[in-house]
Structures are given as C-alpha cells and as structure tokens.
Assembly symmetry: C2
Homo-oligomer: 267 residues x 2
C-alpha cells in the first residue's frame, strides 16, 4: 500500500495521468481513467478496483468513498491526494469530480465468452465514435446483454468519452475484440444467431424469428456493414424509414433492435 | 447576387463565420453553418437555401453543387470562393468539406405546428447534449415524426454538433421551442396524447395504448423529467432495465419508444 500527496503541477505522476487522455499513451500503458464516485462504486460492485485512486483534498466525506478507499488499500493499490486544480489539469475539466480511478484495461478473449450466459450480445463493426460504443455498452447493460464484441478497427471503449457514455456499463459488460476472420469461425463453432440491420434483402424487424443467443451486428457509422458480412448473417432485418434519411444512428439502431429482440425472446 | 473571393485569413467575413461556432455569436446573428454537399443538398430538397455558400477553390465539380450554386445565386444569395485552408479555419476541422452553407435560423412557433400532420412528435425537456438533440431529429425523420419540440432550457439544435448528428433531419423536422407553461395549454387545446418514459408508476412500453398524435416526452440526461411533468402525462411507460443501470441514453430511450409507438399505431 502506498499513500502520498502531490502538490506540484509538474509532478511526473500528474503528467503520466494527464497523458492517459491520449489514446496512444493509454494503449502503451494499458491504463484508463474513470471519474466520479458513482462510476467508481459501479466498478467496485462489479469487482473492478482501480490500481490507483486520486482524490481531491477538502472533498466531502462519503461512506461509499471511504469503503472504496479501504478496498483499494487492502488490495495493495495506491492512494493519491491532490488539489482540485491538479485534478482539473489531469481530467481537462473545469469542475472535475472529487475522485478519479486509474484502472488496468482488460480485454476478454472471444474464446472466453460464455455465449449461453446471455440471450443477447451486441457486435460493433468498425464503429468510429467512442460515444456510440459507450452508448451501446449502456444499452447492452439495460437489455441484459452479455457484452460487446468489437470487430475490425473500432474506437477505444476505454476512452474517456466511451467510459462516460457507458454510465458504468463498461464495468458490467464483457468487452472482446476480434477480427471478422476470428469472430465468424468462433460463432459458427457453437449456437448463435447473427442478425444485421440491413437495407438490402431483409425482413421487417418487428416479429422476426429471433433466437437466443442472438448476436446483433451493427456496422460503421458512414459505410454500414460490408456486403459479405451482411451475407454471412442468419437474419437480415429492416426498420421502417419514413423520412428522407436511409439509416439511423448506429447506437440507436442497436438499441431499437436489441429491445425488439428482448421482447420477442420473452414474448 | 454577390460573388467574391476571400484570400486572407484576417478577412472580417472569415472571422464572422468562424465566430458562428460559438453559441453566443450564433444566437446574436441568427445564423448557423452546415457543411458538406450531402447536407446542403438535403437542405435544398427541403427548400432551405443558405444565404451564403462558401466553396473551396480547386474543388471537384459536381452537378449537385452546380445546381445548388445556381439556386443560391437565383435567390440573391452570396457565393464566396476561398482556400481549403481558410475553410479549415472557419470550421475548425483539419479536413473540411469543400462546401459550407450559412443558413438563417428558423424557429416554428408552437401554435404553428399542425399536430394532425404526423402521428408522432418528439418532445425534449432540458436536454443538454446537442448530439442527443441531433440524434432525436434523425430518429424523428426515420419514424415519420412531425418535429421536435424543445421544452425549457435545451441545447442548441443549430449547433454544429446537433446539425451533424441530425444527418440532414434538422432541415426536414419542424423545430419549436416553448416553456412547459406554453406547451401544456397548447397541447390540451386539441388532440394529443402525452407519453413519458418513466421509472415511477408506469405500464410496460410494449403494447401500451398509444394514440395519435402521440407526443413522446424525454427528460434531461441526468435529472430525468420533473415529477409534475410526468404527472401531467396521459401515459407513463417503462422499458425493461435488466442490468445495473436505471436509465437509457435520452436519444436511445426516445428512439426505442418512438419505434414501438410507430409499430402499435400501424399494427
């Protein structure tokens, strides 16, 4: 256990933490930041403890914060006390929350996913917007999905924006990365229905013959899914588009479809 | 008709356009920017013409761009030619699109909405994220909604982020602003069912007795709807929440509900 106080803006730890806002540094260190007592409590309840806890001096005491601090100390983690100004510098926010956790990234191998553990899985292909990934994690949590599988070159689910948009679901949902060439053979080696929202030959999404475990595949924000990925799906469904637009926001499409799958599987 | 070329970064027009990225300036001028030929073509097809068109020198010719240019000229608008670097300075992007439109903001008075013109209307209360507003506009277009009504202090639907997220729907959907005290008497003066996604006393959202014109009310991202707003609704519905989270992203909740309302009204 370590406990220390940082008072200087030019302290190397401050610089190292601040650098975690940048993807390249984050990947090199394998670390990410999560801000705020609510998010950190969600993490703790999902048995994810930060390796370091950075806390503002003069913060209001809170029983959940005391509990978190005790667990991080017990696990051999580091407790850093610093000023609100330095926390502001680390997070890049004018009004940072009073507590910040530094977490080691995790990455579940696709082979380690228990596909029968949940009736629904979300699959994102080349999604570029970290806010969309975070929102998909949040929706996945809400529909009782098992996790989010990231195919091909997706945004970083551990970026500040994705973590924030996930509202804690980054800690509850399994997150696996795979190429299409890894994903498809894994999927076909067991049960699993692959469903895509499609504009091409497709059945109406309402009342389609969904089957668990159902893998809902959503493609890149501007290009959609590659044609051969769509062709490999067991079911292609289409949602009504009554206006000028020909597609929905990717996270919205995933959610409308996931809630329909949930209703059909349970109905 | 005016046509001119701007070559200097310190040209006052460049400064004025650049300032439109800031909400305060945008509101004072009553102008907003929309970028890219696709978005500007959507606008044109919805009979929204920019008062000025800013185009990059050396751009690729395109029949849709030529048509747009001709219409802006015919309507007495201004055509500005400038360098890609200056366009980059105006938009704040490294790789700006080759064309930018400057539009006068519009604002439909709530009294002017034709509530029977569409079976669905989206209503946002104190939504703070412009991306969520833009996504709601995009979803509204997709479900054939009539427009988006902004209640109380919402983000700006004409901000660059909202316009981008709307994918052109900012030009197809009516946009009205009202206080709750203006909205509720207007609604009650005619037909209209007010529906809220709620965590309190509520019926399941699937198969609820929706009726057109149906007004789907979604509350602030962190606080949700005020209790008395919820109490004033005709129908409170709840969506399954199977995980740790107790709410969905606001734009996601609006979309899941809007698609269910569409399915029920037509089913």
């Amino acid at each position: 256990m370590t406990r220390r106080t940082i008072t200087g803006f030019s302290n190397p730890t401050v610089k190292a933490l601040r650098a975690l806002r940048d993807k390249k540094h984050r990947k090199r260190e394998g670390l990410f930041l999560a801000e705020g007592l609510r998010l950190l409590t969600d993490a703790r309840e999902c048995r994810r403890l930060p390796q370091s806890l950075v806390m503002a001096e003069g913060r209001d005491p809170h029983p959940l914060l005391a509990a978190l601090e005790a667990e991080v100390e017990a696990a051999g983690g580091e407790i850093i006390e610093t000023s609100p100004d330095i926390l502001s510098k680390i997070t890049g926010k004018d009004n940072p929350q009073a507590v910040l956790g530094v977490f080691a990234e995790w990455n579940t191998a696709i082979e380690a996913l228990d596909r029968h553990g949940s009736p629904i899985w979300l699959v994102a292909q080349a999604l570029r917007d970290p806010g969309n990934l975070g929102t998909m994690l949040r929706t996945g949590d809400a529909v009782g999905a098992g996790g989010l599988i990231l195919i091909d070159d997706c945004a970083d689910p551990f970026s500040a924006e994705a973590v924030r948009a996930s509202m804690g679901a980054v800690f509850t949902q399994a997150i696996a990365k795979a190429t299409w060439e890894e994903f498809l053979p894994w999927l076909r080696a067991g049960d699993g229905q692959l469903v895509a929202a499609s504009l091409r030959e497709a059945v109406p999404y309402c009342g389609a013959p969904y089957a668990a475990p159902c893998f809902i595949l959503v493609g890149n924000e501007s290009r959609g899914l590659p044609e051969d990925y769509e062709a490999a799906c067991d079911l292609r469904v289409t949602m009504p588009m009554r206006g000028r637009a020909d597609s929905l926001n990717a996270a919205v499409a995933a959610a409308v479809l996931a809630y329909e799958v949930l209703a059909e599987l349970e109905g």
